[in-house]
C-alpha cells in the first residue's frame, strides 16, 4: 500500500513535470496566434479584427473604431499599437514571413512601403481591385503598387510640409511676421530660408536660435525633391542624386552657422525646446501640428503661425495593408477601405491634423477650432492642401530609411555638433551608407 502510493506520487510528479514542460513549449509555439485574429472568435459569431499601428494614428482618438463597431455589431476591433516605427517594422516583417502573428490590418509607414512592395507583396491582399483608386492622390497609390499592378496598401495620411514659426520671436528679431510675406521671402529655394535665418540671428532674442536642427531642414528639403536615394529601376544613386545634394547643401548652410539650436528631433530636449521657445522655426508636416501644441503648451498658444514652405514637400504618411495571413480577410479589407475613405480621413484631420491622402476630402477639411486658434488662425487647410497637390512624385527604395538616418544622424550631426567640416561629414555618411548597403 505504502509503496504504491509512493509510486503514484512519483508518477504524478513526473506527469506534472512533463505537462509543465510541454505546456511551456506549446505556449511558445501558439503564442504568435494569440495576437492574431482567432484570439476571440468565441462569442456568437462575433469577429475580432486587430489593427496593427505605430505612433498615434488617431483612429481610436477620433472614435472611428467605436463608430465602425456600431455600424457593424458583429465586429470587434482591437488596436495593437507599437510606439516606434523602428521597433514596429522589423516585428511586422518577421511575422509576415512566418505567416503567423500578423494583425488583420497592418499599417505601413512610407519609409517602409517600398520594401513591402518589393519583398512582401505576396504576403498582402491586393486592395486595388475593390476600391475606386481615383479617390487617392496618384503618387500615393503608385508608392504602394507593385510593377505588375498589385496594390498592397491604401493611403492613410500624407505629410505635406509647411514652416511653423514663432511670431513673437520674429517680431523681436525685427523680421516680418505676416505669413504670406514670409512665404514669399523664401519661396522656391531653401537657401532663401537660410538667408532669413542669417537675418534673424543678427538681432536674435537672447537664448533663441532660428531653427531646431540642421537635420530638420534636410528632411524638409529632401521631401520636396523628386530624386532621392534610388532611381526608378531600384539602383542606388544617392551619391549622385541632385535632390540629396540640394538638401545636403541647405543643411550644411545651417549646420556651419550659428542659427541652429542643435537639437535632435523627438528627443526630450527637443520637446523642452518647444516649451522654452528656444527656436523660432521648425519645418512642420501636418502631423506635427498636434505635437507642437502638446509640447509648447498653453504658453505658446497664439504665438505660433504657419507659412508655406520654400518647396512643396512631403514628410511621412502611411498605408493600411491586409496580410494574407489574416483569418478574416474580407472583413479586414472592408474595415481598411472604410478607415481610409475620405469621410474618415476628414475626421482624423479634425482630431489631430493628420492630412488626408484623398483630395475629395480637401474642400471639407475643418481643423479643430483649438488648433486654428493655437496657430494664429492660419489657413492651415489651404496651406497644406496647396502643398499636397504639388508634391513631386518621389521614388523610394528598399533601404531608404537607413540611408536617410546615415545622412542625418551621422553626416549632418557630426558637422553640427562635433565641428567637422561638411566634407568630413559627407565622407562619414558615405562610409556609413556603404556599410548599410553591404558594399
Amino acid at each position: 500500500m505504502r509503496t504504491s502510493t509512493r509510486r503514484s506520487h512519483r508518477l504524478m510528479a513526473l506527469a506534472a513535470v512533463a505537462a509543465l514542460t510541454t505546456g511551456v513549449l506549446a505556449g511558445c509555439s501558439s503564442d504568435s496566434d494569440g495576437t492574431s485574429s482567432n484570439a476571440s472568435d468565441s462569442g456568437k459569431g462575433k469577429t475580432t479584427l486587430t489593427v496593427g499601428t505605430f505612433g498615434v494614428f488617431g483612429y481610436k482618438q477620433a472614435g472611428l473604431y467605436d463608430e465602425y463597431m456600431k455600424l457593424h455589431p458583429n465586429i470587434t476591433i482591437k488596436e495593437d499599437v507599437t510606439t516606434r516605427t523602428d521597433v514596429y517594422w522589423p516585428k511586422v516583417l518577421t511575422r509576415l514571413q512566418a505567416g503567423a502573428g500578423t494583425d488583420d490590418i497592418q499599417a505601413i509607414e512610407v519609409g517602409n512601403i517600398t520594401e513591402a512592395v518589393q519583398t512582401q507583396a505576396d504576403k498582402f491582399v491586393d486592395l486595388g481591385k475593390d476600391v475606386d483608386k481615383s479617390q487617392w492622390l496618384p503618387w500615393k497609390n503608385a508608392q504602394a503598387t507593385t510593377k505588375d499592378g498589385k496594390q498592397i496598401g491604401l493611403g492613410t495620411d500624407t505629410g505635406p510640409m509647411a514652416i511653423c514659426y514663432r511670431k513673437d520671436l520674429f517680431q523681436k528679431a525685427g523680421l516680418p511676421t505676416d505669413r504670406t510675406q514670409l512665404a514669399n521671402l523664401w519661396k522656391g529655394d531653401w537657401s532663401k530660408y537660410v538667408n532669413v535665418g542669417k537675418d534673424y540671428m543678427k538681432k536674435a532674442p537672447k537664448g533663441t536660435k532660428f531653427v531646431d536642427s540642421a537635420s530638420s531642414v534636410y528632411n524638409a528639403a529632401i521631401g520636396g525633391e523628386s530624386q532621392r536615394y534610388y532611381d526608378k529601376d531600384g539602383n542606388v544613386i544617392w551619391d549622385k542624386s541632385t535632390g540629396v545634394k540640394a538638401a545636403w547643401n541647405a543643411a550644411m548652410a545651417v549646420a556651419t552657422s550659428n542659427m541652429s539650436a542643435k537639437l535632435k528631433q523627438f528627443d526630450p530636449t527637443w520637446d523642452q525646446g518647444f516649451a522654452n521657445a528656444s527656436f523660432a522655426t521648425v519645418a512642420c508636416p501636418a502631423w506635427m501640428m498636434g505635437y507642437i501644441q502638446e509640447k509648447s503648451g498653453t504658453a505658446g498658444s497664439g504665438k505660433w503661425d504657419v507659412a508655406a514652405a520654400p518647396t512643396a514637400a512631403n514628410w511621412g504618411g502611411s498605408f493600411l495593408g491586409v496580410p494574407t495571413a489574416s483569418k478574416h480577410q474580407a472583413d479586414a479589407v472592408a474595415l481598411a477601405k472604410w478607415l481610409t475613405a475620405p469621410e474618415q480621413q476628414e475626421k482624423v484631420f479634425a482630431k489631430q491634423a493628420s492630412f488626408p491622402s484623398t483630395p475629395a476630402a480637401y474642400p471639407n477639411l475643418k481643423p479643430a477650432a483649438a488648433t486654428t486658434a493655437y496657430f494664429s488662425n492660419a489657413p492651415i487647410t489651404q496651406i497644406f492642401s496647396d502643398s499636397a497637390k504639388t508634391i513631386p512624385v518621389q521614388v523610394f527604395g528598399i533601404k531608404d530609411q537607413p540611408i536617410g538616418t546615415a545622412i542625418t544622424d551621422v553626416g549632418i550631426l557630426q558637422v553640427e555638433q562635433k565641428g567637422k567640416t561638411p566634407a568630413q561629414g559627407w565622407s562619414a555618411a558615405t562610409k556609413e551608407i556603404k556599410d548599410v548597403l553591404g558594399q
Binding site: 542643435k262 528627443d267 530636449t269 538616418t405
Partner: protein, 340 residues
C-alpha cells in the same frame, strides 16, 4: 562529485519498506510474490531511480534547448549566410564572408573597443565603490536595513526609466550636470557627442544601477567573516584600514572574483543603457559611433539595417569573446587558488 553520488544513493534504502544495503535486496526482503514479478518490479524501480533525477532536471534543459541552444545554433547557421530581414526564406550561402567582413570593418573594431573601454570605466569604479560601501554598511548603524534597501533601489528601477533621467541630467543645454560644472568654471560639455563624455555618461548609468547590488553581495560575504579574525588582528595592533586590507579583502576573494565575472559578462552585453541614451536612432551609438557597443552594433545591423547574416556573425563573435574572457577568468582563479 563523490558527495553528490552519496546524496543520490542515500534515499534508495529509505524508499523500501525495510532498510537494506541494496535496492534489490530491499525488494527481495519484502519477499511475498513470485520471483518474476519481483524482478519486473525491481527493474522498474531501478529504472525509476535512474531516470527520475533526469526527469526532474529536464525542464531547465528543455527550456534552455528551446530558447538558448537552438537559437544559438541557428544563429551560427545564419551567420554563414547572406540573410536579409525582408527575405528570410531566400538566404544564400556566404561561407565565412560575414566574418571576413567584420574583421575588415572599422565599425566592428570600434564597437569592440568601445565595449572594452566602457566596460572598464564602469566595472572598476563600480566594484571599488561597492566594497567601500559594503564596508561602511557592515558597521553597526542606526537603521541598517533602511540603508541596505536604499542601496538596492537603483537596481530595482528599470533601465529605461533610469536612462531617461540620466539623459536629461546630461543634456547639453540646460542639463543639471553642465549646470553644476559651470559653477566650477567648466564649459558646457556635449555629453552625447563627445567621445569620452558619452562613454563616461553611459558608464555612470551602469555604475549607478549596479553598485548597490554588488555592495549587498560583498556585505553578505563580509558578514560571514568570523569576528575572531578581526579580534586577533586588533590584538596585534592593526587599525581599521589594516584590518580591511589584510582581513576583509583576502576573505572576500572568491566573492570578488564572482562579481568580476558577472560584471564582465554584463559589460560585454551592454545594450539598453547606450541605446536609450542615444535617443532617436540610438543604435548608431552617436554620430561617430563613439559609444556604440557590440550589442548595439548587432542590433543596428540586424534590425535597423536588416542584415541578419552579419548581425548573426556579430552575435557569434560576441560569444567567442565571452569564451575567451571566461578562459582568462579561469586562469586567474587557478592562480589565486594556488597562491592561497
Amino acid at each position: 562529485m563523490s558527495s553528490s553520488k552519496q546524496a543520490l544513493a542515500h534515499p534508495a534504502p529509505g524508499s523500501g519498506a525495510a532498510p537494506g544495503h541494496q535496492p534489490g535486496a530491499a525488494r527481495g526482503g519484502r519477499g511475498t510474490p513470485a520471483p518474476g514479478t519481483s524482478s519486473w518490479r525491481s527493474r522498474l524501480y531501478r529504472w525509476d531511480m535512474k531516470a527520475s533525477p533526469y526527469a526532474f532536471i529536464s525542464p531547465f534543459f528543455i527550456i534552455f534547448g528551446a530558447f538558448g541552444l537552438i537559437p544559438l545554433l541557428y544563429t551560427a547557421w545564419y551567420s554563414l549566410h547572406n540573410v536579409q530581414l525582408s527575405s528570410l526564406d531566400h538566404k544564400t550561402w556566404a561561407g565565412l564572408d560575414n566574418y571576413r567582413n567584420l574583421l575588415s570593418s572599422d565599425f566592428f573594431w570600434n564597437a569592440l573597443k568601445n565595449t572594452f573601454t566602457i566596460g572598464l570605466i564602469s566595472t572598476v569604479p563600480q566594484l571599488l565603490m561597492a566594497i567601500g560601501i559594503a564596508h561602511l554598511l557592515n558597521y553597526r548603524l542606526r537603521g541598517s536595513t533602511v540603508w541596505r534597501v536604499v542601496m538596492l533601489t537603483p537596481y530595482a528601477t528599470s533601465v529605461a526609466a533610469a536612462t531617461l533621467v540620466f539623459t536629461l541630467l546630461y543634456s547639453w543645454d540646460g542639463g543639471m550636470v553642465n549646470w553644476l560644472l559651470h559653477f566650477v568654471g567648466v564649459d558646457a560639455i556635449n555629453w552625447r557627442e563627445s567621445t569620452w563624455g558619452s562613454q563616461f555618461a553611459v558608464s555612470s548609468i551602469v555604475i549607478w544601477r549596479w553598485t548597490g547590488y554588488n555592495a549587498l553581495i560583498y556585505l553578505a560575504a563580509m558578514q560571514a567573516i568570523p569576528a575572531d579574525l578581526y579580534e586577533s588582528a586588533a590584538i596585534d595592533g592593526a587599525n581599521r584600514w589594516q584590518q580591511f586590507r589584510h582581513v576583509t579583502i583576502p576573505q572576500l576573494r572568491p566573492t570578488i572574483l564572482f562579481t568580476v565575472v558577472v560584471s564582465t559578462i554584463g559589460a560585454t552585453q551592454l545594450f539598453g543603457e547606450p541605446l536609450l541614451f542615444g535617443g532617436v536612432s540610438g543604435s548608431k551609438g552617436g554620430s561617430e559611433h563613439q559609444y556604440q557597443t557590440l550589442g548595439l552594433y548587432m542590433y543596428d545591423q540586424g534590425w535597423i539595417i536588416g542584415n541578419l547574416g552579419k548581425a548573426s556573425a556579430i552575435a557569434w563573435s560576441m560569444f567567442l569573446i565571452l569564451l575567451i574572457v571566461a578562459a582568462i577568468n579561469l586562469l586567474f582563479t587557478r592562480r589565486l587558488r594556488k597562491s592561497q
